[in-house]
């Protein structure tokens, strides 16, 4: 343990130097918005409620062979749609996503792990409202020629990110656990 801690400052410059190099080497992918989706599944009064965001972008550089690259996804929180105007208004309000003050949610990852055949984990940071936390996002990736399809989901406790102020901190009506889900179709550049 001690040895590891001592080694870190020594290794740090090496890691920092290596990361951008890997990202630069990794092929970039252009998202096909028509066949991609970023959304969530939440529990409202015991029932599953699905929602999605219509406005988001993702800069993806990823090499499936070496599991290196960099992903940055930015979601416009005000584009949330859950099938109900009333619910969307609640989601956009200051008690939940507070889209006026926090118009963007962000996921940035530059470390990846291969966990199986076509299965990976992205180690990155998720920002909701004004809270950023490290997360490990598992995803699958199927590459065929120059096109790729990726899918994954990440369970978060919304209260960890302050999504639930005042009355919305109560988890009996809207559950604490929210599954962030995504399906991305992309073309290799």
């Amino acid at each position: 343990m001690r040895a590891t801690l001592l080694a870190l400052p020594v290794l740090m410059p090496v890691l920092i130097a290596a990361a951008p190099a890997a990202a630069q080497d990794a092929p970039t992918w252009a998202v096909d918005p028509e066949n991609s989706r970023v959304g969530f599944v939440a529990i409202q009064s015991g029932d599953e409620v699905e929602g999605s965001f219509s406005a988001w972008t993702a800069d993806i550089a990823f090499d499936p062979e070496t599991a290196t690259g960099r992903i940055e996804a930015v979601v416009q929180t005000g584009s949330v749609e859950s099938g109900s105007r009333d619910r969307d208004d609640s989601l956009k309000g200051d008690g939940l996503l507070h889209v006026e003050a926090f118009p963007q949610a962000r996921f940035v990852a530059d470390k990846f792990r291969t966990t199986g055949e076509g299965a990976y984990e992205a180690i990155g940071e998720l920002t909701l409202r004004d809270t950023t936390r490290e997360v490990v996002l598992p995803f699958t990736l199927a590459v065929e020629g120059t096109t790729a399809e990726a899918a994954g989901e990440l369970s978060v406790d919304r209260l960890d990110y302050g999504v639930g102020q005042g009355q919305w901190a109560d988890t009996s009506m809207i559950g604490a656990e929210v599954r962030i889900v995504f399906e991305i179709a992309a073309t290799r550049q």
Partner: protein
């Protein structure tokens, strides 16, 4: 109207305090129970409605909506059972001296009220489904949603449900007003025959 020939010619059977359900002069205990239970549940449902629509979007508002939905479905259940009861136990006849237009008005009002007892909860139910919000009954279990969220349908049904609510209130005003008129102005048995308990002078069945 067999009783007419048996009672004194000057006394209308419906004004005869000795009349009882056996002769069809008073409503049956079951009919009274359905009527007053419906009054009770609808009063709660309307009270919730007036409060909940004014609340800001939040957990309290959603909870009140769910109790409104619960009461609405109780009204619907009572209406179904009541209709079955009504078909087996016909309503007592109206006073013989009632003018034709009053009979027609009473008939139309009663039929309309029955229709809304079914229609309003059903519209509300479909509206709840279209809202995409879970329909939580008695604060504890969720009704399945066969249609899913549908904002367009919801927006249309909101208008229908609200308009229906005001028509129902108008019908209730006519209905209750007429009953009070019978009691206090015409001084007949029409109101009394729906009041709880055994009618004064009526034979125990």
């Amino acid at each position: 109207m067999a009783t007419t020939t048996q009672s004194s010619p000057s006394v209308d059977p419906s004004r005869d305090p000795s009349g009882d359900p056996a002769t069809g002069t008073y409503y049956t205990a079951g009919a009274k129970a359905f009527h007053w239970l419906t009054v009770l549940v609808m009063t709660g449902s309307f009270a919730l409605a007036f409060v909940m629509v004014e609340l800001p979007l939040g957990t309290l508002k959603v909870s009140l909506y769910n109790w409104h939905k619960t009461l609405g479905l109780i009204v619907l259940a009572l209406a179904v059972l009541r209709l079955v009861w009504r078909l087996r136990h016909p309503a007592p006849p109206l006073p013989a001296d009632m003018p034709a237009w009053e009979r027609l008005a009473a008939q139309v009002t009663h039929v309309a009220l029955y229709l809304f007892l079914f229609a309003q909860p059903l519209v509300g139910l479909v509206m709840s489904w279209a809202s995409g919000f879970p329909t939580v009954l008695f604060g504890s279990f969720n009704l399945p949603n066969p249609i899913g969220a549908n904002q367009g349908l919801f927006d249309a049904l909101v208008v229908v449900h609200e308009l229906s609510a005001w028509i129902i209130l108008a019908l209730i005003a006519v209905h209750a007003g007429a009953a009070l008129r019978h009691h206090f102005v015409k001084k007949d048995q029409v109101l009394r025959r729906m009041l709880p308990g055994r009618p004064p002078g009526a034979e125990r069945r």
